[in-house]
Point group: C2
């Protein structure tokens, strides 16, 4: 790596799984002289300090961001804009703000009007995570080999030199922690994520509810059958993401509603045609659909 980034004072707002893991990597690589953890929950901040994720902690945004050259906003996506609004009056000229939210278009619309001259915003989304949350879930190397998608607020090839420099800095930051950085339009990002992440979560939640409901009154004499108790490993893996935070995922559904609804509808068409094939015992087409999916899925994990 020829380019390496270095920050004097990083303000990390939201020390959870993503923010905490990024801070751990930055510290172990020596990318920051100090990282200040900012959050609302004292217990989580204490834990972050105890785990060595951050160098100091505060519940006061103004205190934490004052003098920062980089502000990383790693709070739930619905709260990013209001956190930036609170931070803005205390930011120095030349400061770069970045985030890790999984929805980009609406976020940019919300944040752009808040930014003062001299402060750059580079939206980023590391496509990584587990269903766990909080500082205690932070992991070294979480982003290694993962895609981080950066969606510039203006054009993908900015002409403004400060914006261009900020984009370069955030790109180098994510490359330094091992991410494969992809720069794309926010709308494209939101559509891709609605497919590979948001839709599967919606489906997983709906599936668990379907199976739980199917057991109601299904047993002998109208007793309930605990359908879920008959599930095997496949079902458990398949529904692991239904254990994710309902608040976070409801926020994402709100922020990316249009793309998610569109993707649900594409899935509904696919499922409906598969249902017709099954109902008609059209094994040729059922097998054809299953084969198509299997070859795509197998190609996906071949490199793992």
């Amino acid at each position: 790596m020829s380019n390496t980034v270095h920050f004097k004072h990083v303000a990390l707002i939201g020390v959870g799984l993503i923010g905490g893991s990024l801070a751990l990597d930055m510290k172990s690589l020596g990318l920051a002289e100090k990282i200040v953890g900012i959050g609302r929950t004292r217990a989580n901040l204490d834990k972050a300090l105890e785990l060595g994720i951050v160098d100091s902690i505060t519940q006061d945004i103004s205190e934490g961001v004052c003098g920062a050259d980089l502000v990383i906003v790693a709070v739930p996506v619905l709260k990013v804009a209001s956190v930036i609004k609170d931070a803005v009056p205390f930011l120095s000229d030349g400061c770069i703000i970045t985030d890790v939210g999984s929805v980009k278009e609406r976020l940019i619309e919300e944040v752009l009007p808040l930014l003062p001259r001299g402060v750059s915003f580079v939206p980023a989304h590391p496509v990584a995570g587990t269903e766990n949350s909080g500082a205690g879930a932070a992991l070294v190397g979480l982003f290694k080999g993962r895609n981080t998608i950066i969606t510039p607020t203006g054009s993908i090839d900015p002409v403004d030199s400060a914006e261009s420099e900020a984009l370069q800095t955030v790109t180098e930051l994510w490359r330094s922690v091992g991410s494969n950085v992809v720069v794309m339009d926010s709308k494209e990002h939101d559509r891709i994520l609605s497919a590979v992440s948001h839709l599967p979560h919606v489906i997983a939640y709906a599936l668990v509810n379907t199976v739980a409901s199917a057991g109601k009154g299904a047993g002998e004499g109208g007793a309930d059958t605990d359908m879920l108790s008959y599930s095997a490993g496949g079902f458990r893996d398949f529904t692991r993401i239904a254990s994710s935070s309902p608040e976070m995922w409801a926020d994402i559904c709100d922020m990316n509603a249009v793309a998610i609804v569109e993707m649900i509808e594409a899935f509904q068409k696919e499922l409906d045609s598969l249902k017709s094939f099954v109902a008609n015992r059209d094994l040729t087409h059922v097998k054809e659909q299953f084969n198509r999916a299997k070859s795509q899925r197998d190609a996906l994990v071949k490199g793992d």
Copy 2:
């Protein structure tokens, strides 16, 4: 364990993941004097012999089942009846036939007319498995702590003493290898499995195809976007079952079409109502649905 079963000659037709794993457990527990592996593919039989899963092998059903006191049919569910038909002329009086198929009602309808007097059939389904197949995938202890569902061909409490004894024997066999045995009606079995296993597979295949299709022509200038390349661990776990055998799952869809279509429709209703909540930005209801699913899912894995 006060009751232990013991067999002189076990004929295992189909030495794959399930049949092979059961044979491994039976051998390590000393439940059988000899286990003969019967199959169509020489290479798989050779592998089974080499791995010590069976004591001898043959491609000739008549030779393999002759003199057996237990015949375990562990072939794909659509082929169980035809395999039993081939075996029947060579079975001795008192022989018990059992299977491991994941659909029961139609299977029983197909098998019952084939059975001669003096031969019992005890349908069983160990709810366990991985997406791998073949003798090489067989594992010791695969059924430990898993449910094995037994669906008697007659009533759940048989009056016929031979049938009752056969049911008891197969129950003890599965208990011996660590399974939790549940006896239920075949129709109930098929409905439960359509929910916890068949529906998730259909959904996983449909989801992978949806995401792959969504990338068609979605890139710059109408180029394809490889959507799947942006997926993270959640998507990979979620779609693992889409790597299962298309042939096997098409067979299951055929055998259990009615229950599966019914369960797809229950899921479609659930997804449709969730889609409306998202489209209307009705966060209260979205969160309520997600919370309901999460608490069910969390309860499911609490014991793991």
